[in-house]
Amino acid sequence: MDISGRHEERGEYLMVGAAVAASVGSNRIREVTGIGLATSRLEPTLEATLSIADEAIGALPDLPEGPVVAERGEFYEEPERAVGASFAPEFKYVESIGERRTIEIAHHAAYATRALIL
């Protein structure tokens, strides 16, 4: 899960969230099974980022079996348990190389989508 665009531009916000569903090994992505995207014009508060993440996960072709994974800074360093309360699947912060590589794909997807919209 990655969110791009937390900064203000010309008095406006445009956040794009990308959820990438993938099966991963400890240091390899085995298969990417789907990408879900969501946008928001709200200020990037914790509530707004949780909401856009939830929407992006909802836009995936199938609800993932594994946990939702994000970088620590994505939800303002809030404890895992507090963030996890917002998602149907389990939530955890990134641990393995495979998870990091998947977040990297989500980051590229969110960034590129935002550039297209702008």
Partner: protein, 430 residues
């Protein structure tokens, strides 16, 4: 040298086990400790009341140093120094790690890397130190000499000189890695948190004979890897030939540790290249530790490997002699996401080492099968001999005017064997 440990955490309880081990590894005797759970204080890092407590603890114990398991800014070191008895040095976690590295650095490369890390640590602090040095003399500033406005320029030119020398060493090492690959060797690196048992495991896996002990040609080769229950006993690299059918070189290297800033990892890049450029990485984990600690350490290793590692990783749960079967299974299950298919061994007792060598052979890039028909020429037998040295020769069949060699080897060795075969000169018929 006596010391007290100080550690601040934002939340939860401060664990001082690792910083105590690090202090001991640097040669300090830890007499006492202070911990605090609170947000960082800009002036002192810890709260003002805790500083007063530290001051009386230092006076009572008579220690010469105070070691913080945190990152301190120059003004914080200065401010704390003013509140505690005179001549007591304040050291933070990174200065301590650099101190250990400095003590352990045996080779030119290791010494350069430590020097580079020290200078990178120092550079952003120069301005503050210049202004503090003008106020008064104070200990705890790494003793890098007098401060004035030219210091920053000097540091930058030293950094650039060291980087140049390290780049030239790295080039030589890359060339050596390539030569070894071309000789048919696969390169396997042992990585992992400090004190996970990498050196003991290397000795267990290594053949009795080092690859080549000609120090002039291979300064990284050593007859024995360091191996004792201390942090950062291995700072350089040790390369040994593995005791297995396939030609494998094992390299033991510096251990990882948590919260290492980017500049410190970067300073040791050429040492870590041994891991990053390997064909396979064995990520060694001390399975006798508590699960949460193991998890944190494995995550630290993944953090360190993430940006540059390209090789497959096999997680090795080491020290199984210290846990029973039930505990091992519980830990294996708890780590299943981070280490889906680990191999459990004891380097110390030699338990299950054969399973590890089988796994290494299975996970290395596959060898390609090749079949060469060689004319019976003057140099044919030296080519056959070269193949025995650089490939896994399965069968050699001789007849009156040709030799058939069937073997398996790395693609680069097969390329070279074809080229050598094409150069064989067929003798003219009598």
């Amino acid at each position: 040298m006596n010391t007290v440990i100080v550690k601040r955490v934002d939340e939860g309880t401060a664990d001082t086990n690792e910083i105590r081990d690090l202090a001991r590894a640097a040669g300090y005797t830890v007499l006492d400790e202070l911990t605090q759970t609170r947000t960082e204080d800009a002036a002192y890092h810890i709260g003002e009341g805790k500083v007063a407590e530290l001051s009386s603890l230092v006076a009572r114990t008579g220690v010469e140093t105070v070691i913080f398991d945190n990152r301190l800014g120059p003004y914080q070191i200065y401010n704390i120094g003013r509140e505690i008895p005179e001549d007591v040095e304040v050291i933070d976690r990174f200065t301590l790690i650099l101190d250990i590295f400095g003590q352990r650095a045996q080779t030119r490369k290791a010494q350069l890397q430590v020097e580079l890390a020290e200078l990178r640590y120092e550079l952003p602090r120069v301005d503050a130190k210049v202004s503090l040095a003008k106020r008064e003399e104070h200990p705890g500033f790494m003793g890098l000499g007098e401060y004035d406005e030219s210091r920053e320029r000097d540091i930058k030119s030293q950094i650039s000189r060291i980087k140049e020398e390290l780049a030239s060493i790295a080039e030589t090492e890359e060339h050596r890695r390539e030569e070894r690959r071309e000789s048919g060797f696969d390169l396997v690196a042992l990585a992992g948190y400090t004190n996970a048992g990498k050196s003991t495991l290397l000795r267990r896996l290594a053949a009795d004979l080092a690859v080549d002990e000609n120090e002039d040609l291979h300064p990284d080769l050593d007859t024995t890897a360091e191996s004792e229950d201390r942090l950062f006993t291995t700072l350089g690299t040790t390369t040994r030939r593995a005791d297995m059918e396939r030609d494998v070189l094992l390299t033991d290297t510096v251990g990882f540790i948590s919260d290492l800033p980017h500049w410190l990892v970067e300073s040791f890049r050429s040492t870590l290249d041994e891991v990053y450029r390997a064909d396979l990485v064995l990520l060694v984990v001390d399975v006798s530790e508590p699960i949460e600690e193991i998890r944190e350490k494995v995550v630290t290793c993944h953090d360190t490997l993430y940006e540059r590692n390209e090789a497959p990783i096999v997680t090795v749960l080491n020290k199984i002699d210290a846990v029973d079967e039930a505990e091992l299974e519980e830990k294996r299950a708890a780590l299943s996401a981070l280490a889906p298919d680990p191999v459990a061994v004891s380097g110390k007792e030699g338990l299950n080492v054969e399973a590890l060598t089988d796994r290494i052979a299975a996970d290395l890039p596959p060898l390609r099968e090749e079949r060469l028909v060689l004319p019976m020429a003057e140099d044919t037998m030296s080519l056959v001999s070269w193949l025995y040295d650089n490939a896994c020769v399965e069968e050699v069949t001789y007849d009156a005017d040709q030799v058939l060699v069937e073997f398996a080897a790395r693609p680069s060795v097969i390329e070279r064997s074809r080229s050598k075969a094409s150069e064989l000169t067929i003798p003219e018929s009598a």
